[in-house]
Symmetry: C2
Subunit: 576 residues, 2 copies
């Protein structure tokens, strides 16, 4: 039996601090009594063999999933070896690196190396209670008419790929009170450096704020005022590519092979004209030529950008645009640079697919969790998979990372690159309320895309980038109220910040349970995904729960906790 398909020490053991290793294990469902045994290979006689029970957090498709955090016996994790002990078919067995054994020998244990100071997951010390709010600056709020570009169209115009409506940094400052009412405590701004387009992903000058948005002073004010309100601020770092009109690329166009910048790009043919064949670009989009980050001059240029803005404005980190197309080698170097200036800065990578390679490489702290979004939509909105399949995929996704990494995931339902979430929900508020409940209960930092909280709608780009309708704003909007509720929960409930996760499904009732808990709090979200009423008693019995701990119901139809209505959820809480 090949053990590493149950536990791969290179993948399923993650250093979550210089003293702590989180260890994941998957075993066949018939196994019970699972413990981690560990010992110091040089000091076995002194310390002996120690053991810890492992926590069973899910069962799916014939397997049980376990986690445990191993804390170093000394100043740090080192020289430890470990194996797993469990019962299988009534017999006690041990899983070693070289197989399952039937005797309690130590040979072949898995090994941990000495933990490097910098090799651990290093979450920013402020991350655990954050809810992100993403702002597309051109469309959030126009605070300064003087910097509006020519041909600015009236606020509320239909968004096109090219038009401008005048949003700017002063507008963001003006609306901080509003954001305070909503309760969010972290801001992610789409690009604000000088660029040609309205989205500013085609940078022409990385060292200035786009004049249509304001000045470096405005950015400093945003950061200062946000920090006074305990709101963190990160910017969009677009270094996979620059804009076609960036002077270095223009230099290559003008001077061809004589340009000192020709090695900054991936030029295929000279002379360089704007065509697909002539140079590499992002997604074959020739307005955005790809930067060659293996060139030390490019590296230094980007380090200078990052250093300049971190020092100038005191921002709290970066979201890396199309990070999955940037050299991982460079992303690691970039992370060193960012963290040297501010060890508590965060780096969040844009990626639309499986993020494991990026996370495993230690190149980023967190990713835009589009993969989770896809899964939630497949089941909750599209019903293209069964509850059993949903559970299997959610367990799989949760098993791919340590809890420490999951706790800092950027969990989004939509962005400037997708249709609006309410539109994706078929304008069905109820669907969106279900999504929000699941989004806030799962480990990670929930994200709100500006305007989603008041039910803005629109198809994908450009329609998801409409101007925020400040005139029609109602803080009584059910979405706004529900978001305030969940944001409040995330900010106050430690179980949602750092708690374990447990996942369970009830196939016969088509109900799903997400549990989060720590030593002081125990929270359970129970959702009825079926179209029938579900009697709660049998579920309570299975879970050993008392219904009276229900602290929130999504419907007001309930009768004394007896029934969970179709597409309704209950939130239960026990303070320990």
């Amino acid at each position: 039996m090949i053990t590493n398909f149950y536990h791969d020490p290179a993948v399923d053991a993650v250093l979550i601090s210089p003293r702590q290793m989180e260890i994941r294990l998957r075993l066949p469902s018939h196994t019970v009594q699972v413990r981690l045994l560990y010992w110091n290979k040089y000091k076995l006689e002194h310390y002996g063999i120690q053991s810890q029970p492992m926590f069973l957090w899910a069962e799916s498709e014939g397997y049980k999933y376990y986690r445990v955090v191993l804390t170093g016996m000394e100043s740090r994790i080192r020289y430890l070896q470990y194996k797993f002990e469990y019962e299988s078919g009534g017999e006690r067995v041990w899983l070693h690196s070289d197989g399952v054994k039937h005797t309690a020998e130590l040979k072949g244990g898995f090994s941990l190396s000495y933990a490097g100071d910098r090799d651990a997951v290093h979450p920013p010390d402020w991350i655990s209670n954050r809810v992100w709010y993403q702002i597309f600056p051109e469309r959030f709020s126009n605070g300064d008419k003087d910097n509006d570009p020519e041909n600015t169209e009236p606020w509320g115009s239909i968004p096109t790929r090219d038009n401008h409506m005048g949003g700017d940094l002063q507008g963001i400052i003006d609306r901080l009170d509003y954001l305070g009412i909503l309760g969010i405590n972290a801001l992610y701004l789409n690009p604000i450096f000088s660029a040609t387009s309205n989205h500013k992903y085609d940078t022409t000058d990385y060292f200035t704020i786009d004049p249509q948005f304001g000045t470096a002073d405005d950015l400093c004010r945003i950061v200062r005022e946000c920090h006074e309100r305990d709101i963190k601020v990160i910017l969009d770092l677009v270094i996979n590519h620059c804009g076609y009109y960036h002077p270095f690329f223009q230099d290559v166009i003008t001077k061809g092979e004589q340009s000192e910048y020709k090695e900054w790009f991936y030029i295929n043919h000279y002379p360089v004209t704007r065509s697909e064949e002539n140079y590499d670009s992002v997604g074959y989009y020739q307005w955005m030529p790809k930067l060659r980050t293996s060139n030390p001059a490019v590296q230094q240029y980007i380090f200078d950008i990052v250093s300049f803005w971190q020092k100038e404005s005191g921002i709290d980190g970066w979201r890396i645009d199309v990070a999955d197309e940037v050299e991982i080698s460079f992303l690691r170097e970039l992370k060193s640079c960012v963290k040297r200036i501010n060890p508590n800065a965060i780096i969040i990578a844009e990626i639309w697919d499986d993020a494991k390679r990026l996370m495993l490489s230690g190149a980023v702290d967190s990713v835009m969790n589009y993969e989770l979004r896809t899964l939630l939509f497949d089941y909750i909105l599209d019903r293209s998979i069964t509850l059993r399949q949903f559970h299997a995929r959610l367990v799989h996704l949760t098993h791919r990372y340590s809890l420490a990494e999951l706790h800092q995931m950027f969990n989004l339902l939509g962005s400037h690159d997708t249709e609006r979430i309410l539109t994706r929900c078929g304008l069905n508020d109820e669907n969106l309320l279900l999504l929000l409940a699941v989004q806030f209960m799962l480990p990670g930092n929930p994200t709100v895309y500006y305007g989603d909280e008041i039910g803005m709608t629109g198809d994908n780009d450009p329609y998801c980038r409409a101007s925020m309708p400040w005139e029609e704003l109602s803080l009584d909007h059910p979405l706004f109220r529900q978001l305030r509720f969940w944001i409040g929960r995330k900010k106050t409930d430690s179980a949602l910040q750092n708690g374990e996760v447990e996942l369970q499904f009830f196939e016969e009732f088509e109900c799903y349970l997400i549990r989060r808990f720590n030593e002081s709090q125990d929270m359970r979200l129970l959702v009825n995904f079926s179209s029938a009423e579900v009697q709660l008693k049998p579920i309570y019995q299975k879970l050993g729960m008392v219904g009276g701990s229900c602290v929130y119901r999504s419907s007001e139809l309930d009768e004394a906790d007896a029934i969970l209505h179709p597409r309704e959820f209950h939130l239960y809480q026990t303070t320990i």
Copy 2:
């Protein structure tokens, strides 16, 4: 069904050049007709869906193991998505990132990102035909009596942990003709920088050759003369720790908290005296205090060492001592530094257990493959596992890496840190001949520890470090002859250098087959591990082989290829 236990895109897809991705897949044994389908997500209409058959290289424990190399459709791998197509129970199905599907949709394909220039496996251009020879300098050859330390004992004395016998760099130069007869073409020298002990792992000056061994000039001469003979040379880099008498550590001992070097180490208590509690060291061995590689000053110091010797002597790379205890973050930076000076330098990590984490991190090129050694001993020498278990573990080990990575593994049977291989074999030449055959047939660079080729014996340190008995040397020693044979094969047969590997076992006969092949050559090693004679006809029939292609037999008893004697092997070769 959770697909990623069959293919984990973060682990089982390895960029082996900026244009090539090697993809591994494990499927249940009942599946057939396995193909990789791939397409460009932006250019589907232009290129369509392309496909390649996957190569089945082993079957074990209910699974089939496949590989394929995907070559970019354009200048490099980018924007590709892929899925696997196969037949299962007579039905055609597709394995996607989100599960097994029964329709030919494209949604949910695995994604490849744009390949970073530096993210690929980058084998030195000289590695494929190399056989390493490891020299422990104090005991290999005494070429210069003038540099012998005081109290040097006569050559041939019983080795102790402390004694000296006068081996030096001039001795190595003197014996290059001998190494030429053996045929090896890569040298790994144990440490040669100034240090206190006879093994020199307790460095006191990284910038000088230990005077007992010679001078920087001697090293330059070794490298020059080796390069003239097409022999590569690597040195031992001991940067996890330095020696207790290194002046920087002595400074901490003398000045305590006032020392400018106190942050170079892991000091736990002041004043610092030589005790286990006071500072971290390697394996609690207080003569070797651990260096703090997260300190930028330490990093720069080590970069300076590496740069100095690479430029001064032209060496071809480094073996990193106890690499699994060094920060991976630092190893990556070290690799950048080494490769910047010489892109064809190799970095080989010492590690005794699973090497996947180090390899996956891109921090090293290769590792000392002690894990393979353990497996070979478990079956071939100790018979503590069955042939079926041996096969399962060998398949597992081979499935953990890309072929490109396997091709540069440092495959050793013994070293200065183990008992001598002949001693480990119970002084049984026949066992050792079997081990050599398997060692040379598997992907990677075989390694000879000095003196093993003439049957030196000895238990682990200090007895494995005896002086080379030049007086009694016989080039007619059967081990020497056999090694010459295999080394010749490795240097001339391209299938052993870059070929695919195929593994197969015949349980009923207790025979094992290792096949290596490429487009020009097909080699098969067939070994009888049983204690009975095996009729070859049924095996030939199973394999569709003609016995006449046998080019080497380990026994002279054979009768016209009809029988494989106990613990005998045949080597078959077909030139295509």
